[in-house]
Every structure is written in C-alpha cells, then in structure tokens.
C-alpha cells in the first residue's frame, strides 16, 4: 500500500469521481442551461428529447419531489428553473441517457422558449437600480468625515478588478447510486459534503440520514466546489431517485465554464487621506460586488472584503461600504481569498497613486503604515502576535528593496525599449470562517487490532495536502510512524455536520479535532500500559511506535499494546469535536473578534515591460511568508507557489468577457488562459517565517489563501514600469493588466495639464 497520494498521482492511479468504474446500468447526464440572461419561460417541451433512443428520462422543475431549492445562506436558487431564468447557463432540464454523447444530442432537442427581459450586467448599474441581494453594509471606525481636514494630502480614484474562472482541472462531477429503501450514496467532487447531503435531502424530500455523501479527493477546488458542486450532485441524485439507476453527471469543460460562477468582479471608489509625513489618516471606500443572479456565498464574500479593506495597514479613520449587486450573470462564488484580494487590490492601488502624487516610493508609504502589535482593525479586533513588520523587514534584509528599485531605475535610464518595474506587496489575512458557527469540526479515529489507524474527518483533500497534515498530526499524537495511519474519505455517515473545507481552515479545524480524538485513544492506551508495566500512567508517553517511560523506551511496543487493549475490552475508537475558541462577531455593531489569528507576508516583484509591444515578463518574485511551525514544509511551499501563480493570473492574464446580452464569450480553454510555466517568474524565491503560532494545531498556520495576494505585487510592479514609461499619466487602476491594457496605456494620449 502506497503511503502517499503523490505516488498514486504520478502513476495515474488516484481515483477521481469520473474514474470510478460505472456501476451496472449507470446513466450519464447532460444539463440544459438557459441560453438567455433574463426571461420568462414560455414553453418547455421535452417530448422530442425523451424520444431519442438511449434516453431514460428528461427531468424539469416539475419532477422535483421536495423543495426546488439549492441555496445556503439565502434560499433563492432553484435546482431547475421554474418559470423564470436569471442568467445564461442556469439549469433548466437534465437529460439522462445511456451515454453522455446521447444525452448531449437529446439535450439539443429540448424545446425551450423564453420571453427575454432586460438584463443587467454591470454592478454599478445594478446598485443604481436598487438590485441589491442584501442592503449595503458599512464597517467604520474613528471619524472619517472629521479626519479629512487634518489630512495634508487627499487622493481619490477608482479601482476595478475582474472575475476569475477557477479552472480546476477536474470539472464538476457527481455519481449518485441508489440503494435500498430509497436511500442514496453520492460520490461528489465537493468541498462541502454536508451541504451536498443537506441539499440533496431537501430537494429529494428525504431525511439527511438517507443520503450518504462520500468524497475521496478533488482535482482542484479553489472555492469553486464549495457551494457550486452541490447543484450537480443534486441533479445526479434526482436522476437516480427518478430512474432507480445510478447516474453520473460530469460537466464537460465548456459546460463547466458557462454553468458555474467565478471570482467576483469588483468596481470600487476610494479616497485616501494622509498627513504630511505620509501616515494614512483616513480611508473611505465603496465596493460594488458583482454577485450575479443569486446570493450563493456572495454576502459572506462581501463581508470578508470589508474585513480586509485596510489591507496590511493601520488606519484610524475608516468607512468602508459594500454593495452586493444582483446582476444577470451566473452567480459568482468562493475563490481563494474570498473577497479579501479584491479589497487589498483597492488599497494598494490607492497607496500607489498617493505615492505617485507625493513623489515618494510607494514602499515608503507602505512600510510607514504597516500594522503593528496591538493595532486595532476597523472591525474592533486587535492585531496580536502581529508579524507584518517582521515579514516586511525580513524580506527587505534578504532581498534589498531599495537596491532592486535603484537597479530598475538605472536600467530604465539606458534602455529605450524595455522598462523595468519593482513593487512590494504586504499581505495580512484573517483566519477563520467569518460565520463563527462554521468554525467547528469533528473527527473519528479507529485504531484497529493490527495497530493500523484510520482517521476520518470532514476535511476534503483537493491538493492542499490536508490529508497529509492530518495524518502527521495523528501519527505524532499516537507516536506511530505515518505509514501506520490512513486518512479516510470525507463521508457524512462517519463524520456529520461538517463545515466546508474552505477559508484555509481545513487543517486547523480538522487537524485539531483529529488530535483531540487521538488524545482520547492515547490516554486509554496509557492506562492499559500502566497496568501492563505496573507504573503510573503519568510516566508514560506514546512515542516512536511504542511506550516510553520517563522518556526511555520500554519493551512494550505499539502493536502489542493495541492487542492488549483490545483483549482487555478497551475502546480503541474515539470521536472528538473542536470549536475554535474566542471567536465572536456582532453584525449590528460590525465589531468583534472574527479571526483566530492573521497570516502575514511580504513579496517583492520585478517585471520587464516592452514599451513597443506592451508585452511583459515576470522577472522575479521573492517573498517571506509567515508559515509558522509548518506541518509539512513541501506542502506549504507548494501552496505558496501555487497560490501566487493564481494571483498572478488574476492580476495579469485571466480575463472574462461577456457579450452585451450576457453570454460568456471566454467559454473554452482556448479562449480563457491560465498561467503556464513560461508565464511564471524566472526567479521565484520563498522564505518562511517559522515562529510557532499559539493559536492553531501544533504551532502551524493556515496557508491556502494568503499567498494568493502576493500576485497583486505583479500588478503594482507592472504599474511601476508603466509609470517609468509614461510618467505623464496616472497609473493603471483596472485589473487584469493584460498585454492589451498595457499597450493601450503606453500609447494613450497625454493627460491634459491640470492646474493644482
């Protein structure tokens, strides 16, 4: 048995949902999505599709036995459209057939007539029309209106960031298998097994215990399978219930791109006030979040935008307002960073603009305003064990910010074609679900008679290495080699009421729950050993595959101890529950302690821009990341590098486009480009700040999302190069900064002289 998923992966032997052998009689599904962005369904006739040989069923809203509802935070999303459609791609019907090819062919024969209604595609326009999903929310501290008078400089502007397709390599997938007595087993590529279980039960009219959801692993999630894996599992389950046959539903890439939401595009207006020394006194910002047609997770994402409105900086006077705007695009959803990156992009753009206006390097303003120990965030929590300056200064010492900037400036004086740019990007990211209730996890540990260990949690392995980390935690706690520990699938019948594997918390929550469960078994085993060795249990530790007494090995090995425990009728299984302490947030005052802790880091990015063609190259990204006492260094390094790549893609290359009537134009892998190897920086250097974190399992820190935001540094560095090439223009404020945007900026007419 291979001890690590990595071995399975390089041999092509790891099993994803679409790799599971088809059960006998398995049907395949194709989903018909709305071709219209907004409208009333006038006619829906599936007769012709149903007549195709090999088609077993065609299901519409009328075939749903339970509630036609897949929403989580707000119940506003039907599984299948009923009467109206609100975006292109909204599921209207599902075809079940002997093969996917037949299902796709039959899908074309469904007759669907829609009376089109006006579609809104722009979040500012939606806000102006009052199309809000929830009323606007405001986080405030200090006296922002009174602070402007004290400011020596007040700068304002816009900053817009684009959406981002997840482009997980494994598309959305589910396999629903009917079992006896109306129950179902659902294999789902989801980050949220319990959500799938709850919604399948709701839509099918079943109790949750009739639905077992099992998740082995995902071929990438990144947030795209937190909420939006659910509808596909629901439709597969609906088909299995209707036909009594197994149903596999795997979206092909084109369907996946059109029928799933993306990272939220944001439009923002900001005003920044600084004193004569460059200290930020006041920050006012209004965000317009493009939520899409239904709520999905948008309101939670909006909240995290507000939590991160001041980035890595202390600002005494703040008013941040966020609009959750309903538009007629597919509902946007979680994506690594969850609204945080969009907020940090705005304040960094503002600081860069202020630096330009003041004629000082942006890094001077950034360093001067960094969070320090005890500084209060606008939401009332204080920065404890604050590592903002520690990371910044470590990066500056290691990489030499001023020297890098000086080298770029020297280059730019002598090269009339290629302009270099340099920028520093600090990151501060809060860890915990901002919905406090979600910060809980369960774990179930079995020690089997042969001494091998099985650990179940709600954590979903999607490449982030959470299974590896949990295995390490369990092995260390039980004092056995990691090879003795197997981490099971996430299965709702073994661990119930789980939170999604999201918000970077997978290892923190599930790892700690696993540790607590292992501790219970370990304590029982120590009692057994104490009887065997005729000593006090306090003197005993489980270590190195055996029992140590006062730190020295005893003859009692792990296998013998486990065997003894079984024959003396000792419980070798344990369940434990962990709830992150200290958390609480009051939405009336918008104050509280939403986060267990923060993750910090600082990156410096160098780019070279071709003034002639507008193309550019990433020369180097060097960074210091606050990994604390890493549970697995290679895993955390991979998370940092991979998150950075996605952040770079979001800021520079990845661009979504829609037609005027709301159809996604970038709807294939050929039209939507994600980073490839050649795009990545020529030099990538990652250093870790390794000071242990007292607030997470075994001194570690969460790692999934924070490094994504180092990608913003590439926007800032390219903006720096653009300012070198066109000092007469204000810097760019729209991401992604594609080669088109850079060239149009380079060739833009000079701004008219303005009088001060």
């Amino acid at each position: 048995m291979k001890s690590d998923d990595r071995i399975l992966h390089v041999r092509g032997e790891s099993v994803f949902v679409d790799d599971l052998p088809a059960p006998a009689g398995c049907l395949e599904a194709a989903v018909l999505g709305s071709p219209v962005a907004h409208g009333r369904i006038v006619r829906l006739d599936v007769t012709q599709a149903l007549a195709v040989e090999g088609v077993a069923a065609v299901l519409t809203a009328a075939d749903i036995p339970g509630e036609n509802q897949t929403g989580t935070i707000i119940l506003d999303e039907p599984a299948l459209a009923d009467g109206a459609v609100h975006c292109v791609g909204q599921p209207v019907a599902v075809v079940l057939a002997d093969s996917a090819t037949v299902a796709r062919r039959a899908r074309k024969l469904i007759e669907l007539e829609i009376e089109a209604l006006p579609a809104v595609l722009d979040p500012r326009e939606a806000a102006a029309l009052g199309h809000h999903i929830i009323p606007p929310r405001t986080f405030a501290c200090g006296d922002v209106d009174g602070a402007w008078a004290a400011c020596a400089h007040v700068v304002s502007g816009r900053a817009d960031s684009g959406g981002q397709e997840h482009f997980y390599l494994e598309t959305q997938a589910a396999l629903a298998v009917p079992a006896e007595n109306g129950t179902l087993l659902v294999h789902s590529a989801t980050q949220a097994p319990t959500a799938v279980q709850r919604v399948v039960a709701r839509v099918l009219g079943l109790p949750m215990h009739a639905v077992q959801v099992d998740v082995r692993r995902l071929g990438g999630g990144f947030g795209g399978k937190e909420e939006q894996a659910t509808p596909w599992a629901v439709l597969a389950a609906l088909g299995a219930q209707a036909t009594g046959r197994p149903v596999r539903l795997v979206l092909d890439r084109a369907d996946d791109m059109v029928m799933t939401g993306k990272r939220h595009p944001y439009a923002s207006d900001w005003t920044l006030g600084l004193d004569a020394d460059g200290r930020v006194l006041a920050w006012e910002v209004v965000y317009y979040q493009d939520a899409g047609a239904t709520a999905d997770l948008s309101t939670a994402i909006l909240e995290r935008t507000l939590f991160h409105s001041t980035g890595s900086y202390f600002v005494p006077h703040v008013r941040a307002t966020a609009h959750c705007c309903r538009t007629n695009v597919f509902p946007n959803t979680a994506f690594r960073g969850f609204g945080g990156p969009q907020a940090m992009f705005v304040i960094e753009t503002a600081l860069a603009a202020a630096a330009h206006e003041l004629g000082v390097p942006a890094r001077d303003l950034q360093r001067k305003n960094l969070l320090s120990e005890g500084a209060t965030f606008p939401y009332g929590q204080a920065a404890e064990d604050c590592r903002a300056a520690r990371c910044w200064d470590a990066a500056d010492r290691a990489f030499g910010f001023a020297a890098l900037a000086a080298a770029a400036e020297a280059h730019n004086r002598s090269d009339d074609r290629f302009a270099r740019g340099v920028a520093v990007m600090p990151v501060c990211f809060g860890i915990s679900f901002t919905n406090t209730a979600l910060n809980q996890a369960g774990a179930l540990v079995h020690v089997y008679q042969d001494g091998s260990v099985g650990v179940s949690t709600g954590a979903v392995e999607m490449g982030q290495g959470v299974a590896r980390k949990i295995r390490r935690v369990a092995a260390r706690t039980l004092g056995v080699p990691e090879a003795r520990v197997h981490v099971e699938t996430a299965n709702t019948a073994r661990v119930a009421n789980t939170s999604p594997t999201a918000a970077s918390t997978g290892a923190d929550l599930n790892g700690e729950a696993a540790r607590l469960a292992c501790l219970q078994v370990a304590e029982r085993l120590r009692q057994v050993a104490a009887r065997e060795l005729d000593c006090a249990a306090d003197a005993l530790t489980l270590h190195d595959g055996g029992i140590h007494r006062d730190g020295a090995p005893t003859p009692l090995g792990w296998d013998a101890l486990v065997n003894k425990a079984y024959w003396t009728r000792t419980d070798l299984s344990a369940h434990a529950h962990y709830a992150t302490p200290r958390l609480g947030f009051d939405r009336a005052s918008e104050k509280g302690t939403p986060f267990a802790y923060h993750v910090y880091g600082t990156a410096v990015t160098e780019v070279t821009l071709d003034r002639l063609l507008g193309t550019y190259r990433l020369d180097a990204v060097r960074l210091v990341h606050d990994a604390a006492a890493s549970l697995d260094r290679a895993t955390d390094l991979g998370q940092v590098e991979g998150a950075l790549a996605q952040g770079l893609g979001w800021m520079l290359m990845e661009e979504l486009a829609w037609s005027a009537d709301g159809r996604l134009l970038t709807d294939t892998a050929g039209k939507y480009k994600v980073p490839d190897l050649d795009f990545m920086p020529r030099t990538l250097e990652v250093r870790f700040l390794e000071d242990p974190n007292p607030r997470a399992v075994m001194g570690s820190k969460a790692v999934g999302e924070p490094p994504f935001m180092y990608g913003i540094g590439a926007f800032l560095a390219l903006a720096d190069a653009l300012r070198a090439a066109r000092p007469d223009l204000p810097g760019p404020t729209t991401a992604p900064l594609t080669p088109e945007r850079t060239l149009m900026h380079l060739a833009a007419p000079s701004a008219p002289e303005t009088t001060p």
Binding site: D4, R11, E13, R105, D632, G638, L677, D678, P739
Partner: protein, 472 residues
C-alpha cells in the same frame, strides 16, 4: 466500422469503433485506462497526454500527443502508450521519483500528463537539457503548483540522466536496459510489424484528417460517429526535399518535423522563431502544414510565415492531377480557400534561398505559449547596401484572411530601413487592414499592435541602425 489493430502499452489490442472517435474517449470509456484524464477535450491542458509510437527506419519513434485530439483511426499499426504503460511494475521511474521527491503533485489530476510528456522528453531529447525538458511540458497546464516544484524536479531529473545514455544509439532500448522504461518499448518494432494492421484502402469520399488538432475541436461529436482518412498514411506527403530552386514541404509534414528540418530552417529561418510559439509540443506533434493552411484561420502563425516566404501550394485533385497556386491567392475570404471538393494540398513550395534576405517573426497573444495570436506577423526583406530592395509583409489577425500587406511592403522598398520608412510603412499598413473586435482583443488594439509589430520587425532586421525610441 473498421477494425483497428494496435499495440496498447504491452499488449495488442483491437478497436471496433468509428475511426473518428477520440483516443481519450476510447481509453476511458472502453478500456478503463483512467490515468489519461479529460481536462478540457480541446488540447489545451495536457491532462490526457499519451505517447504515440510509429515504426520507421530508426525503430519506433515516440511523440507525446493529446489523446483528446487523436482519432482512434490513427492508432492502426501504431504503439499507444498511456501512463499505465509507463509505470514500472513496482516503484517509480526517474520522472515520477523526481516529482514525488520534490513533493510536486497537489491535486494530482494533471500529473499523469506531465509524467507522460517528460517520458516523451527522455525518448526525444539529445542531451537531457533542462530547456528540452521544459519545452516538452509546454502543453501541460497545472492549476495547483505554479510549476516551481515541477521545475525543481526537472533539474534533478536532467542531472540524473546526463551521462547515463548514449545520445547516438537508439534511445528506447537504452532506457529499457537502464530500467527506466518498461520492456514493451524494446520490442515494439517487431510486435508492430507482426500486427498486420495496415488498414484497407480508404474510400476517397471520407473526410481527410491531417493532425485533427482543429477538426476534433470543431466537429467532435460528428467525427466520433464516422470513418475518416488520414494524411499520415501517405508517405509521399510527409517528406521535405529540394526540387530545383524550391524546397518542397509535404502537406502531411507536422509542425514539429518542419521546425526541426535544417533544410526548412535554412530556407525560412523565421520558422525557428515561430516553432515554440505555435500551439504546444502536443499540438505541433500532430498538426500538419497543409492542415494549418486549409483551416484558413486568419491568425494562423504558419500562414503568415509562408506568405512572407513567397510560398506556393501544389494542389492535387482526386484523380492525381496537380496545379499550383501562390499562397497569397489561396485565401479567398474568411474561411474560404481555393480548394475544390476532392482536392488536397499536396505540398508547400518555398524558395530555397533568396540572396540577402532576412526574416523577422513576431506574435503577440495574451499568453506567450499555447495561445492563439491577437496579431501575428512575418516580414522578409532583401537588404542590399543598406537599402531595402524587396519586402514581403504578412500579418495575421487583422483581416478575414492571413494578409499579405502589399502596400506596407511597397513603402519599405527603395529606402533604407530607417524610422521614416518604417513609419511610412506603418501608415500604409493601417490603410490596408480591417481588424474586428473579438475575444482576442479590440479592433483598436489590433490596429495598434499591427503597427508596433512592424516596428519590432524593423528593430530585429536593422539592429543598431534603428532605435526603439525613434519609433515610439
């Protein structure tokens, strides 16, 4: 339905399916070989990379290709190797070991594709250079790792391979003897010969596939239900040979073969610049010269190069009659070409050598590698004593067809290649292009880009004499 006989990993296999069905669909649907994964089904991600071995004079030659773009009809008489056919019975091969040692795999979905591509590199690289290894995975996309760990693994892999293999002797047997590849790579030639798999003569009315790298994307479902003919079965279309003052490039020559041909590179040096910017290794290993032209995309990179190179096409009718047409006259309008039913592009003929000619190729796309151009272009100038005596400028992405920009070229002739001449040519170019707004860029951007690309050509062709600052 034809019966297709092939060698699949270590065993002979028979396919009873329409020839146009994709190999990916067959492997996953019929054979449960699920290590070959569907990520995009259009050759853009590499998760379904397989090795295709074809017997030739030097033994079986293996190329990494995308199974989603490979019709099963192409497998007849060939050796198809999937990830399962690269796994050692126990343990890991050096590619796999290096990736695992680096902790590279994350979600793992794409990794079998990376392993297959890198095994293709072990079979094909002369010197196991890091550059070759990196180039071999230019068609493999990973969304998790940011590639850094893969690069570290490549460093280890290449370091470990150097000195272990004789670069001259046939490669596959050496890799087998070294325990790196399984035994079925050693005896594949003999087993293929014994297959007796030559397909029956093809009916002339079947669709003719070159590499299929566009057709399988555009017409996947219809092709999967029907039979097809394959250019690869015509050895006479797969040669590159001098004929008088022209180099004759067979229509079935792949882009990989073309850009590796010293004769082709000598005649048209711009092919060397274009090579790595055309699709990916997986696409270039399949896409053919004629297919690229017949597809008639206005942004075809090769069309731009060949237009600048003054290429002509040799066209063969069903009965064998041949005619020639200048490439610039072949493109009639958007996706319309001078080719009648039953005719095929037999060969492309380019001048062997034009005295004092120099080429420049430029392509701008959102992503530099494995992306379709926003604007692509090639300029050939003849410079005598510092004066341009002849110029051919081709631009893609700014007109319904790959455009030979005669006006801009004319503006360059008779003058030195200086800033004034380049600006005059750029103005002339502006008057003869008609770009449109689309997903690759706005018309205004493409118009500006066409102009700037012309300037970039001039900077390449008049190094030292011209400065970028003079042009901006």
């Amino acid at each position: 339905m034809a019966t297709i006989r092939l060698l699949l990993n270590d065993r002979p296999a028979t396919i009873a399916a329409p020839a146009g069905l994709s190999t990916l669909a067959w492997l996953r649907g019929e054979r449960q070989l699920t290590g070959t994964r569907e990520g995009c089904n259009e050759g853009e991600c590499g998760a379904c990379t397989v090795l295709l071995g074809e017997a030739g004079t030097g033994g079986v030659r293996y190329r990494a290709v995308a199974a989603c773009l490979l019709p099963v009809g192409e497998l007849a008489g060939r050796h198809l190797v999937t990830i399962e056919g690269l796994n050692p019975p126990a343990g890991l091969n050096p590619v796999q070991q290096a990736l695992v040692d680096e902790g590279a795999p994350q979600c793992g979905f794409c990794f079998s594709g990376f392993v297959v591509s890198l095994c293709g590199f072990l079979l094909a690289s002369d010197d196991f250079s890091v550059g070759d290894a990196v180039a071999s995975i230019d068609g493999n996309i990973c969304r998790c790792t940011g590639y850094a760990s893969i690069l570290r693994a490549i460093d280890t892999l290449c370091g470990g391979m150097r000195g272990r293999i004789d670069p001259v002797a046939p490669r596959a047997p050496q890799l087998v003897d070294a325990g790196i590849l399984p035994r079925h790579f050693a005896d594949a030639a003999a087993r293929l010969a014994a297959l007796d798999a030559l397909p029956a003569a093809d009916a002339a009315d079947l669709p003719l596939l070159g590499g299929g790298t566009d057709l399988l994307v555009q017409r996947r479902d219809p092709l999967a239900q029907g039979e097809a003919r394959f250019v690869s079965r015509r050895p006479d279309l797969r040669t590159i040979a001098a004929e008088g003052h022209r180099l004759v490039i067979g229509g079935g020559v792949t882009i990989t073969e073309l850009t590796a041909s010293s004769a082709a590179l000598a005649a048209v040096p711009a092919l060397g610049v274009m090579g790595p910017l055309f699709g990916s290794t997986l696409v270039r290993n399949r896409a053919t010269v004629a297919g690229n032209l017949v597809n008639a995309s206005p942004i075809a990179d090769l069309a731009a190069v060949l237009l600048a190179a003054d290429a002509e096409l040799e066209i063969e009718a069903a009965g064998g009659a041949r005619r020639r047409v200048a490439l610039e006259n072949f493109f009639l309008g958007y996706k319309r070409i001078d080719l009648s039913a039953g005719e095929i592009v037999r060969a492309v003929r380019v001048p062997l050598r034009v005295a004092d000619a120099a080429f420049s190729f430029e392509k701008v796309s959102r992503r530099r590698i494995l992306d379709i151009a926003t604007v692509t272009g090639c300029l050939r100038v003849v410079l005598k004593d510092g004066v341009v005596t002849d110029a051919r400028l081709a631009v893609g992405g700014v007109a319904p067809v790959p455009l030979l920009a005669r006006g801009a070229a004319a503006a360059l002739v008779g003058r030195p290649l200086d800033a004034a001449a380049v600006r005059a040519a750029a103005d002339a170019l502006d008057a003869e292009i008609a770009p449109i707004d689309d997903v690759r860029g706005t018309a205004a951007y493409k118009r500006l880009l066409a102009r700037r690309i012309l300037m970039a050509h001039a900077l390449t062709l008049a190094p030292g004499a011209l400065r970028c600052g003079e042009l901006l």
